[in-house]
């Protein structure tokens, strides 16, 4: 049989798709889910946009990690004097930036607002310049992965503003399009 380039690519693609992983649930997840389902009044209280897998060496290989210390439990720590970190990304090529928020204590109902520079979009949210949502933070490091796509070469500054009660912090990332 004639083996075309397309046939070969199809085989490669199917092999890749076959190897595409799905993670295992956290230990005890099934038991917790069962318990919640079978107990009256149990309601999910989950809004876990924060990835649990911080420290993954693979993720470090896939994405640029931007460490943004929130330290909301310690308002005396300097924030604004830190140099603004930057990333360089190619036009129309998705790039993942992981924002890491360190919190001294667990925070409930914090509000996070991400503002994007002109010409840069968040994957899955075409045309939206500002995205805001409420979430909870665990004590320690919390990771927010953002996949950005540059549609124009302008670049600019991305800001992520974290608000909790009367406190807030804004983190800035310079986005350069190279």
């Amino acid at each position: 049989m004639h083996d075309t380039d397309t046939d070969k690519r199809d085989r490669e693609l199917l092999a890749l798709l076959g190897a595409y992983p799905a993670p295992e649930p956290d230990e005890g997840f099934y038991e917790r889910a069962l318990a919640r389902a079978t107990h009256v009044g149990s309601r999910r209280q989950r809004n876990r946009w924060l990835a649990a897998g911080f420290g993954s060496a693979l993720a470090a290989g896939l994405a640029l990690w931007m460490i943004a210390g929130a330290f909301l439990g310690n308002p005396d720590l300097p924030q604004t004097d830190a140099p603004i970190p930057g990333i360089t990304m190619a036009l129309e090529e998705p790039r993942t930036v992981n924002l890491v928020f360190s919190s001294a204590a667990a925070l409930e109902r914090a509000t996070l607002t991400v503002s994007l520079p002109d010409g840069v979009e968040l994957a899955g949210f075409p045309g939206q310049r500002e995205i805001s949502w409420q979430t909870s933070l665990d004590a320690g490091k919390n990771v927010l992965p953002l996949t950005l796509i540059a549609l124009t070469p302008a670049g600019g500054e991305l800001t992520a503003r974290l608000e909790h009660e009367h406190r807030n912090r804004t983190f800035r990332v310079r986005v350069n399009i190279g």
């Binding site: 595409y20 993670p23 924060l50 060496a57 949210f125």
Partner: protein, 179 residues
């Protein structure tokens, strides 16, 4: 039956399907938080229909179909929200977190890079195309199983599968992942 007996009966029916349902939730939702919420919602709903569940010959298929419908309903609701939430899995990379790291003897940097590119390419597909290709080519569902699960005609599923593969092939050839 008492509450305890109901719980035991429920667990006996649903637990054998947990791993497959968890993976299905992942493939539908694409992120851990939403997948786990979907899984949880399914169990809550299924427990409320325990009387119906105990009578089924194939509870696994029933559970998968209910999960799919919950996902579709949830997606409609999210589209109506003025303020959209960032979902971790709409962002590439997270699903790969379980792969070996550089310290692992099974670490294969080239393979992991390829999977990262596949991950990013999958995000460029429509939800419909991505779901079909992941269920069929990654999870091994047959066309008729996807038809039963989703209620979408087999012809439409085949068409979506063909287009999804073609688009992935195009993206991954352009970036050098495929030869």
């Amino acid at each position: 039956m008492s509450t305890a007996e109901n719980s035991l009966a429920f667990e006996r029916i649903v637990r054998p399907h947990f791993d497959r349902l968890y993976r299905l939730a992942w493939r539908l939702a694409g992120n851990k938080a939403e997948a786990e919420d979907l899984f949880q919602d399914l169990l809550v709903k299924a427990y409320g229909k325990l009387d119906e569940l105990v009578e089924l010959d194939d509870p696994g298929s029933w559970l998968a179909r209910v999960m799919y419908n919950l996902f579709v309903d949830g997606a409609r609701h999210r589209k109506r929200q003025r303020l959209r939430f960032v979902e971790e899995g709409s962002l590439p990379g997270e699903g790969l977190a379980g792969l070996p790291g550089p310290d692992d003897p099974h670490y294969d940097s080239r393979r992991i890079e390829q999977l990262g590119r596949l991950d990013a390419a999958l995000k460029q597909l429509s939800d419909e195309h991505r779901t079909v290709v992941l269920l069929h080519d990654t999870e091994g569902y047959k066309i008729n199983e996807i038809e039963t699960l989703t209620g979408i005609p087999a012809g439409t599923i085949k068409s979506r599968l063909h287009r999804a593969r073609a688009r992935l092939r195009e993206i991954l050839t352009a970036d050098g992942t495929l030869s």
